[in-house]
């Protein structure tokens, strides 16, 4: 039984990763699961300098989901390298660093800084973050802007790059193709869907930021559809996420065409979710005689 997957030449022991921003840099959930069991740890977005993020409230629960507007708080790439990468070195897993920035230049700073670090397997570029200036959310919602930033970063990166796509678009296929055309090694999707919640008793937005990103099981059908569409539109590997809670969910994404999957907000519901998903996939493969995980990829 083979659960290994290879993406842009990087081999992962299994297709299960953590979704950026829902797993810190692994320390916190290391108390619950053995990080060495994971296909990869995808870290919280990191920028070239520390970001304060948004005011609180930053999170709000919704039906089978949640909204967040963390605002990409992060300690900056220097601390990240010294502390977080050093911590992750202790585990037998791959590290994918999620990168954010306010401008092309800021993204570039992080990418270049990490390009020679052996501990980094790949970088995932978050072009779907809601608070970037200079083209801003355009990076993630306009095919041409996505093409340009992908191309620029690819020119300067010695690591394979995953472009993380926003679901807040009319046509995800077009976005996926732009990323591919510009040289992306893989794409990951979906980032959160923009949402809003209002407290009718306080007559105020539930989040200080007004809007936030919707994640969790509520969005799974949208995510599966987009992963299906994107993986049929491009030839580069697709990493699927959005509401994965169980092995069934993960397999659903794989059958839709994903090469790997990530567990996100559900970690907050079940801190053991990542490893349970891995074990569940193994069980499914045993029970249904799937000898290689690749055999069920895109099977529908």
């Amino acid at each position: 039984m083979n659960t290994k997957v290879t993406i842009a030449g990087v081999e992962f022991k299994n297709p299960v990763m953590t979704a950026s921003g829902t797993f810190g840099s692994g320390v916190e959930y290391g108390e619950f699961v053995d990080l060495s069991r994971l296909g990869a740890v995808v870290t919280k977005g990191v920028a070239d300098h520390p970001w304060e993020g948004n005011p609180v409230p930053r999170v709000a629960e919704t039906a089978s989901g949640m909204l967040n507007a963390i605002g990409l708080q992060n300690p900056g790439v220097d601390v990240f390298i010294e502390r977080d990468l050093a911590f992750l070195e202790g585990y037998d897993t791959k590290v994918i660093v999620n990168v954010c920035g306010h401008s092309e230049g800021e993204y570039l700073n992080v990418v270049e800084r990490l390009s020679d670090d052996d501990r980094v397997a790949m970088m995932e570029i978050n072009v779907s973050c809601p608070n970037v200036k200079e083209g801003g959310i355009a990076f993630g919602t306009r095919p041409d802007a996505l093409f340009n930033i992908t191309k620029l970063l690819k020119e300067h990166s010695k690591k394979p790059l995953i472009m993380k796509l926003s679901p807040n678009v009319t046509d995800i296929k077009e976005m996926a193709k732009s990323a591919e055309a510009a040289g992306a090694d893989a794409i990951s999707l979906i980032n959160t869907i923009t949402g809003m919640k209002i407290d009718i008793y306080k007559r105020k937005f539930a989040l200080a930021n007004k809007t936030g990103g919707l994640s969790g099981p509520a969005i799974k059908p949208v995510a599966v559809r987009m992963v299906y569409e994107a993986s049929h539109a491009v030839n580069i590997p697709v990493i699927g996420m959005g509401g994965i809670a169980t092995a069934e969910d993960a397999i659903e994404f794989i059958m839709a065409g994903a090469s790997a999957v990530a567990v996100g907000a559900v970690n907050f519901h079940n801190p053991y979710a990542t490893v349970e998903v891995i074990e569940g996939i193994e069980k499914y493969m045993r029970d249904y005689n799937v000898s290689d995980i690749a055999d069920i990829r895109g099977i529908v």
Binding site: T22, G24, E28, V56, P57, P217
Partner: protein, 264 residues
Amino acid sequence: MKKKISCRVLSQKMIAKNIYDLKVESELAKDAVPGQFAGIYTGDGSMLLPRPISICGADKEQGILRFVYRIQGKGTAFFSGLKEGDRLDILGPLGNGYPIEEAVGKRAVLIGGGIGVPPLLEMAKRLSELDADKAPSAIDIVMGYRDSETFLSDEFKKYGNLIIATDDGSVGVHGTVTDALKEKAVTDGVIYACGPMPMLRGLASYAGEHEMKAYISLEEHMACGVGACLGCIVKTREVDGHSHVKNARICTDGPVFDAEELDL
């Protein structure tokens, strides 16, 4: 060690209007200290996130956790329907807890307001049980309620000098806990507090005036409860050692903070 485990409900009763007292059998009681909280999950699949509820009692020997909570919305309403024998998923113990050792030889001033009352009960109990060399010189307990429904006050009485303040003046001092502190001239010792933000702000400045240390427990909307999501921050005066910005995580760096360190 933090764990998420399924626990058996031992008892549940209403102790004041919309206020419930829930006891569960849980090995988490072993490690829990006062001021910590737990993330309690409803069994309902539409509610993704754990509800942070303070530990009101932790009986190590018998392995019993106690929570006292107010019905606030869907989650707490769900909890209030639990019966003996039902099972409940609990993530804990979470957060840091009150620094009990700071009160050695000093006056310990425990202050709770509203639904901030419960976490101080276990604190009062543990302070009262300390060996003489570790014990505070006195235990003052100042609890603020809306009205005459002074839940848990009978239990507090056992552990120290209880002063009650009520918004409507029906019991004890008419006014806030700060009013009670002033009235009773409590001006030295270490404050351990939990309650609504305006009360905590008031206490922080009262403590500042009287050069008292104040350890206050904060609330914020949480997602993970374990420090991973950065959902629950509070502004700090200095750059925080973990975040490298002026934000500390209430769920992990707190919920109890030295009031001086915060930018409230």
